[in-house]
Symmetry: C2
Subunit: 317 residues, 2 copies
């Protein structure tokens, strides 16, 4: 199996009863400032507060009854965990989420609010994977990887399908990149529907593993990134994701922590949406002029809205 | 002239090219907590960040070319001013806004960003009206009152029309009340489309002039309210608004400042929308259990999203 447009269309049908069709916002002032037409796909308004509900629902509802019964397990910096807990709750099967002990309180509560059980581990990929493996050996549950999974990628790609239905003539789609789930789904969906469109991934400069991998042609692993964009702290491109990225993604750019915070604040102020730092990286690339957008129609995926409102980055310098 | 459903339908057609059709959000956790089905009409995502764009566009585009040419003038605690400046800019006519000197910086900048001229005055209705009268005498501009104006009320009512198109079986609509523009439009629209529906207005307890007027049957004037809900600081019901309120609105309730802040924060956290304190009062009435909503389908109008992100009320106790 790999990932094709047909898989993403199938995912859209499968998850339709379980996710929101999110609005696409535009803003005259932001268009004027950038010289482009910007279309913000608001996955921060998605069920469970992030696009992750799309991939999680597709993975959970694609399981046979027998495979689903023992439940699902994942490691997640937060939003995938909440989304998977919600998907499992809707299917009526158990869910256990392995989270790093430095995950935000809001994200832990979010998992628990959907009936998910949270197990904590050290904030490294190795620790997360070991904890998951133990849980699976004990229970027979199915691992739903946050990004290195074709069903998850297919689900994530449905956001781009919707965006292109509303704005068919897009020139460019920008999306935040963690492990590569969203950008693979986005690129396969977008290029499938509109081959002339460009897809550019944006990473925090502090966590540029996918950018490095794309440039060097091999999966570069870095130390766990210390970026404020906590949804993008994965430190290596997915094994299944990397060849799809090499084939379908046009380019990558990176943004600084200050650029992320500035873009996050501007989105709150101008668009009136609560987005988390990870969500802001794609808009940050436009706002900090890392990408030439003048005269173009640009889709920007705002990926999630789960933040700790007591710890807003512009109030804690 | 008074206000009828036909006026609101005409307004909807007139303003369609100039405003957004805003999304209606729902949230499983908030539904569960309230025992109701809550439908949030997100006018915080409206052009210029508030429902006020609806009324302002209707008033400006209803003017003849000759009447429009000298421009428009208003007094406003903020959002009506920005909305009127934007409407005037779209029509290509000048706009001057009289604002109280304690208006938030964000709201002043918002007016100026649409090419509006801001003139400051003391924070009282008398001072605002005197300043407007002077400007009108000098320029021949048309006053567009923020609420005591049938075209403005008709425009504001278009939000309820859209909400009922999406959720036709609503039992109840709750809306924040300042001078009475939104609730008159809402009540006439909603009762016109669905006579069995109830419309309840919500005011800050610190600024309950309309509630007092409704209870006593006469237009009660109070001191300028000191509520955090700065969009609701009008201190007397509009002259044209009051009879419509008496005829069409079912009841009023009030909420405390703490209830407003709690509801505002919860909306940010659960719905991932940036709403201003004035926007939160209707949801506050549900969250603080001031209204019996269990088992009902409840429409809640989130009126605006213009806040100063450096001064969030839960961070400054």
């Amino acid at each position: 199996m790999s990932l094709a447009l047909a898989d993403i269309r199938a995912a859209a049908n499968r998850i339709a009863p379980h996710v929101q069709r999110t609005p696409v916002l535009s803003n005259a002032a932001l268009d004027h400032a950038s010289g482009a037409q910007l279309f913000f796909k608001c996955e921060s308004l998605q069920a469970a507060g992030a696009f992750k509900s799309r991939g999680a629902c597709n993975a959970v509802f694609a399981l046979s009854d027998a495979a689903a019964a023992p439940g699902v397990v994942a490691h997640s910096s937060g939003n995938h965990g909440a989304a998977l807990a919600r998907a499992a709750q809707r299917r009526g099967v158990p869910c256990t989420i392995v989270m790093p002990h430095n995950a935000s309180v809001a994200k832990v509560r979010n998992v628990e609010s959907y009936g998910g059980r949270v197990v904590f581990c050290a904030p490294s990929l190795a620790a997360r994977e070991a904890a998951c493996a133990g849980l699976i050996a004990d229970s027979g549950a199915t691992l739903v990887h946050p990004f290195d999974d074709y069903h998850v990628m297919a689900g994530q790609g449905t956001a781009a399908l919707e965006l292109l239905e509303e704005v068919p003539e897009l020139d460019l789609i920008l999306c935040p990149v963690g492990g590569g789930g969203l950008i693979c789904g986005t690129a396969v969906a977008a290029k499938g529907v509109r081959p002339t469109l460009s897809v550019i991934g944006v990473e925090p400069a502090l966590g540029d593993d996918v950018t490095q991998s794309f440039r060097t042609g091999r999966r570069v692993a870095i130390a766990t990134p210390a970026t404020i964009a906590d949804g993008l702290r994965s430190n290596v491109t997915g094994e299944r994701n990397f060849p799809l990225i090499q084939q379908h993604v046009d380019d990558f750019v990176t943004v600084t922590e200050a650029e992320i915070v500035a873009a996050m604040r501007l989105a709150w102020e101008a668009l009136h949406v609560v987005i988390e730092p990870s969500s802001a990286v794609a808009f940050a690339a436009v706002h900090a002029e890392k990408i030439a957008v003048r005269g173009k129609k640009v889709g920007i995926i705002l990926t999630g809205g789960n933040v700790d409102l007591d710890k807003l980055p512009w109030l804690h310098s």
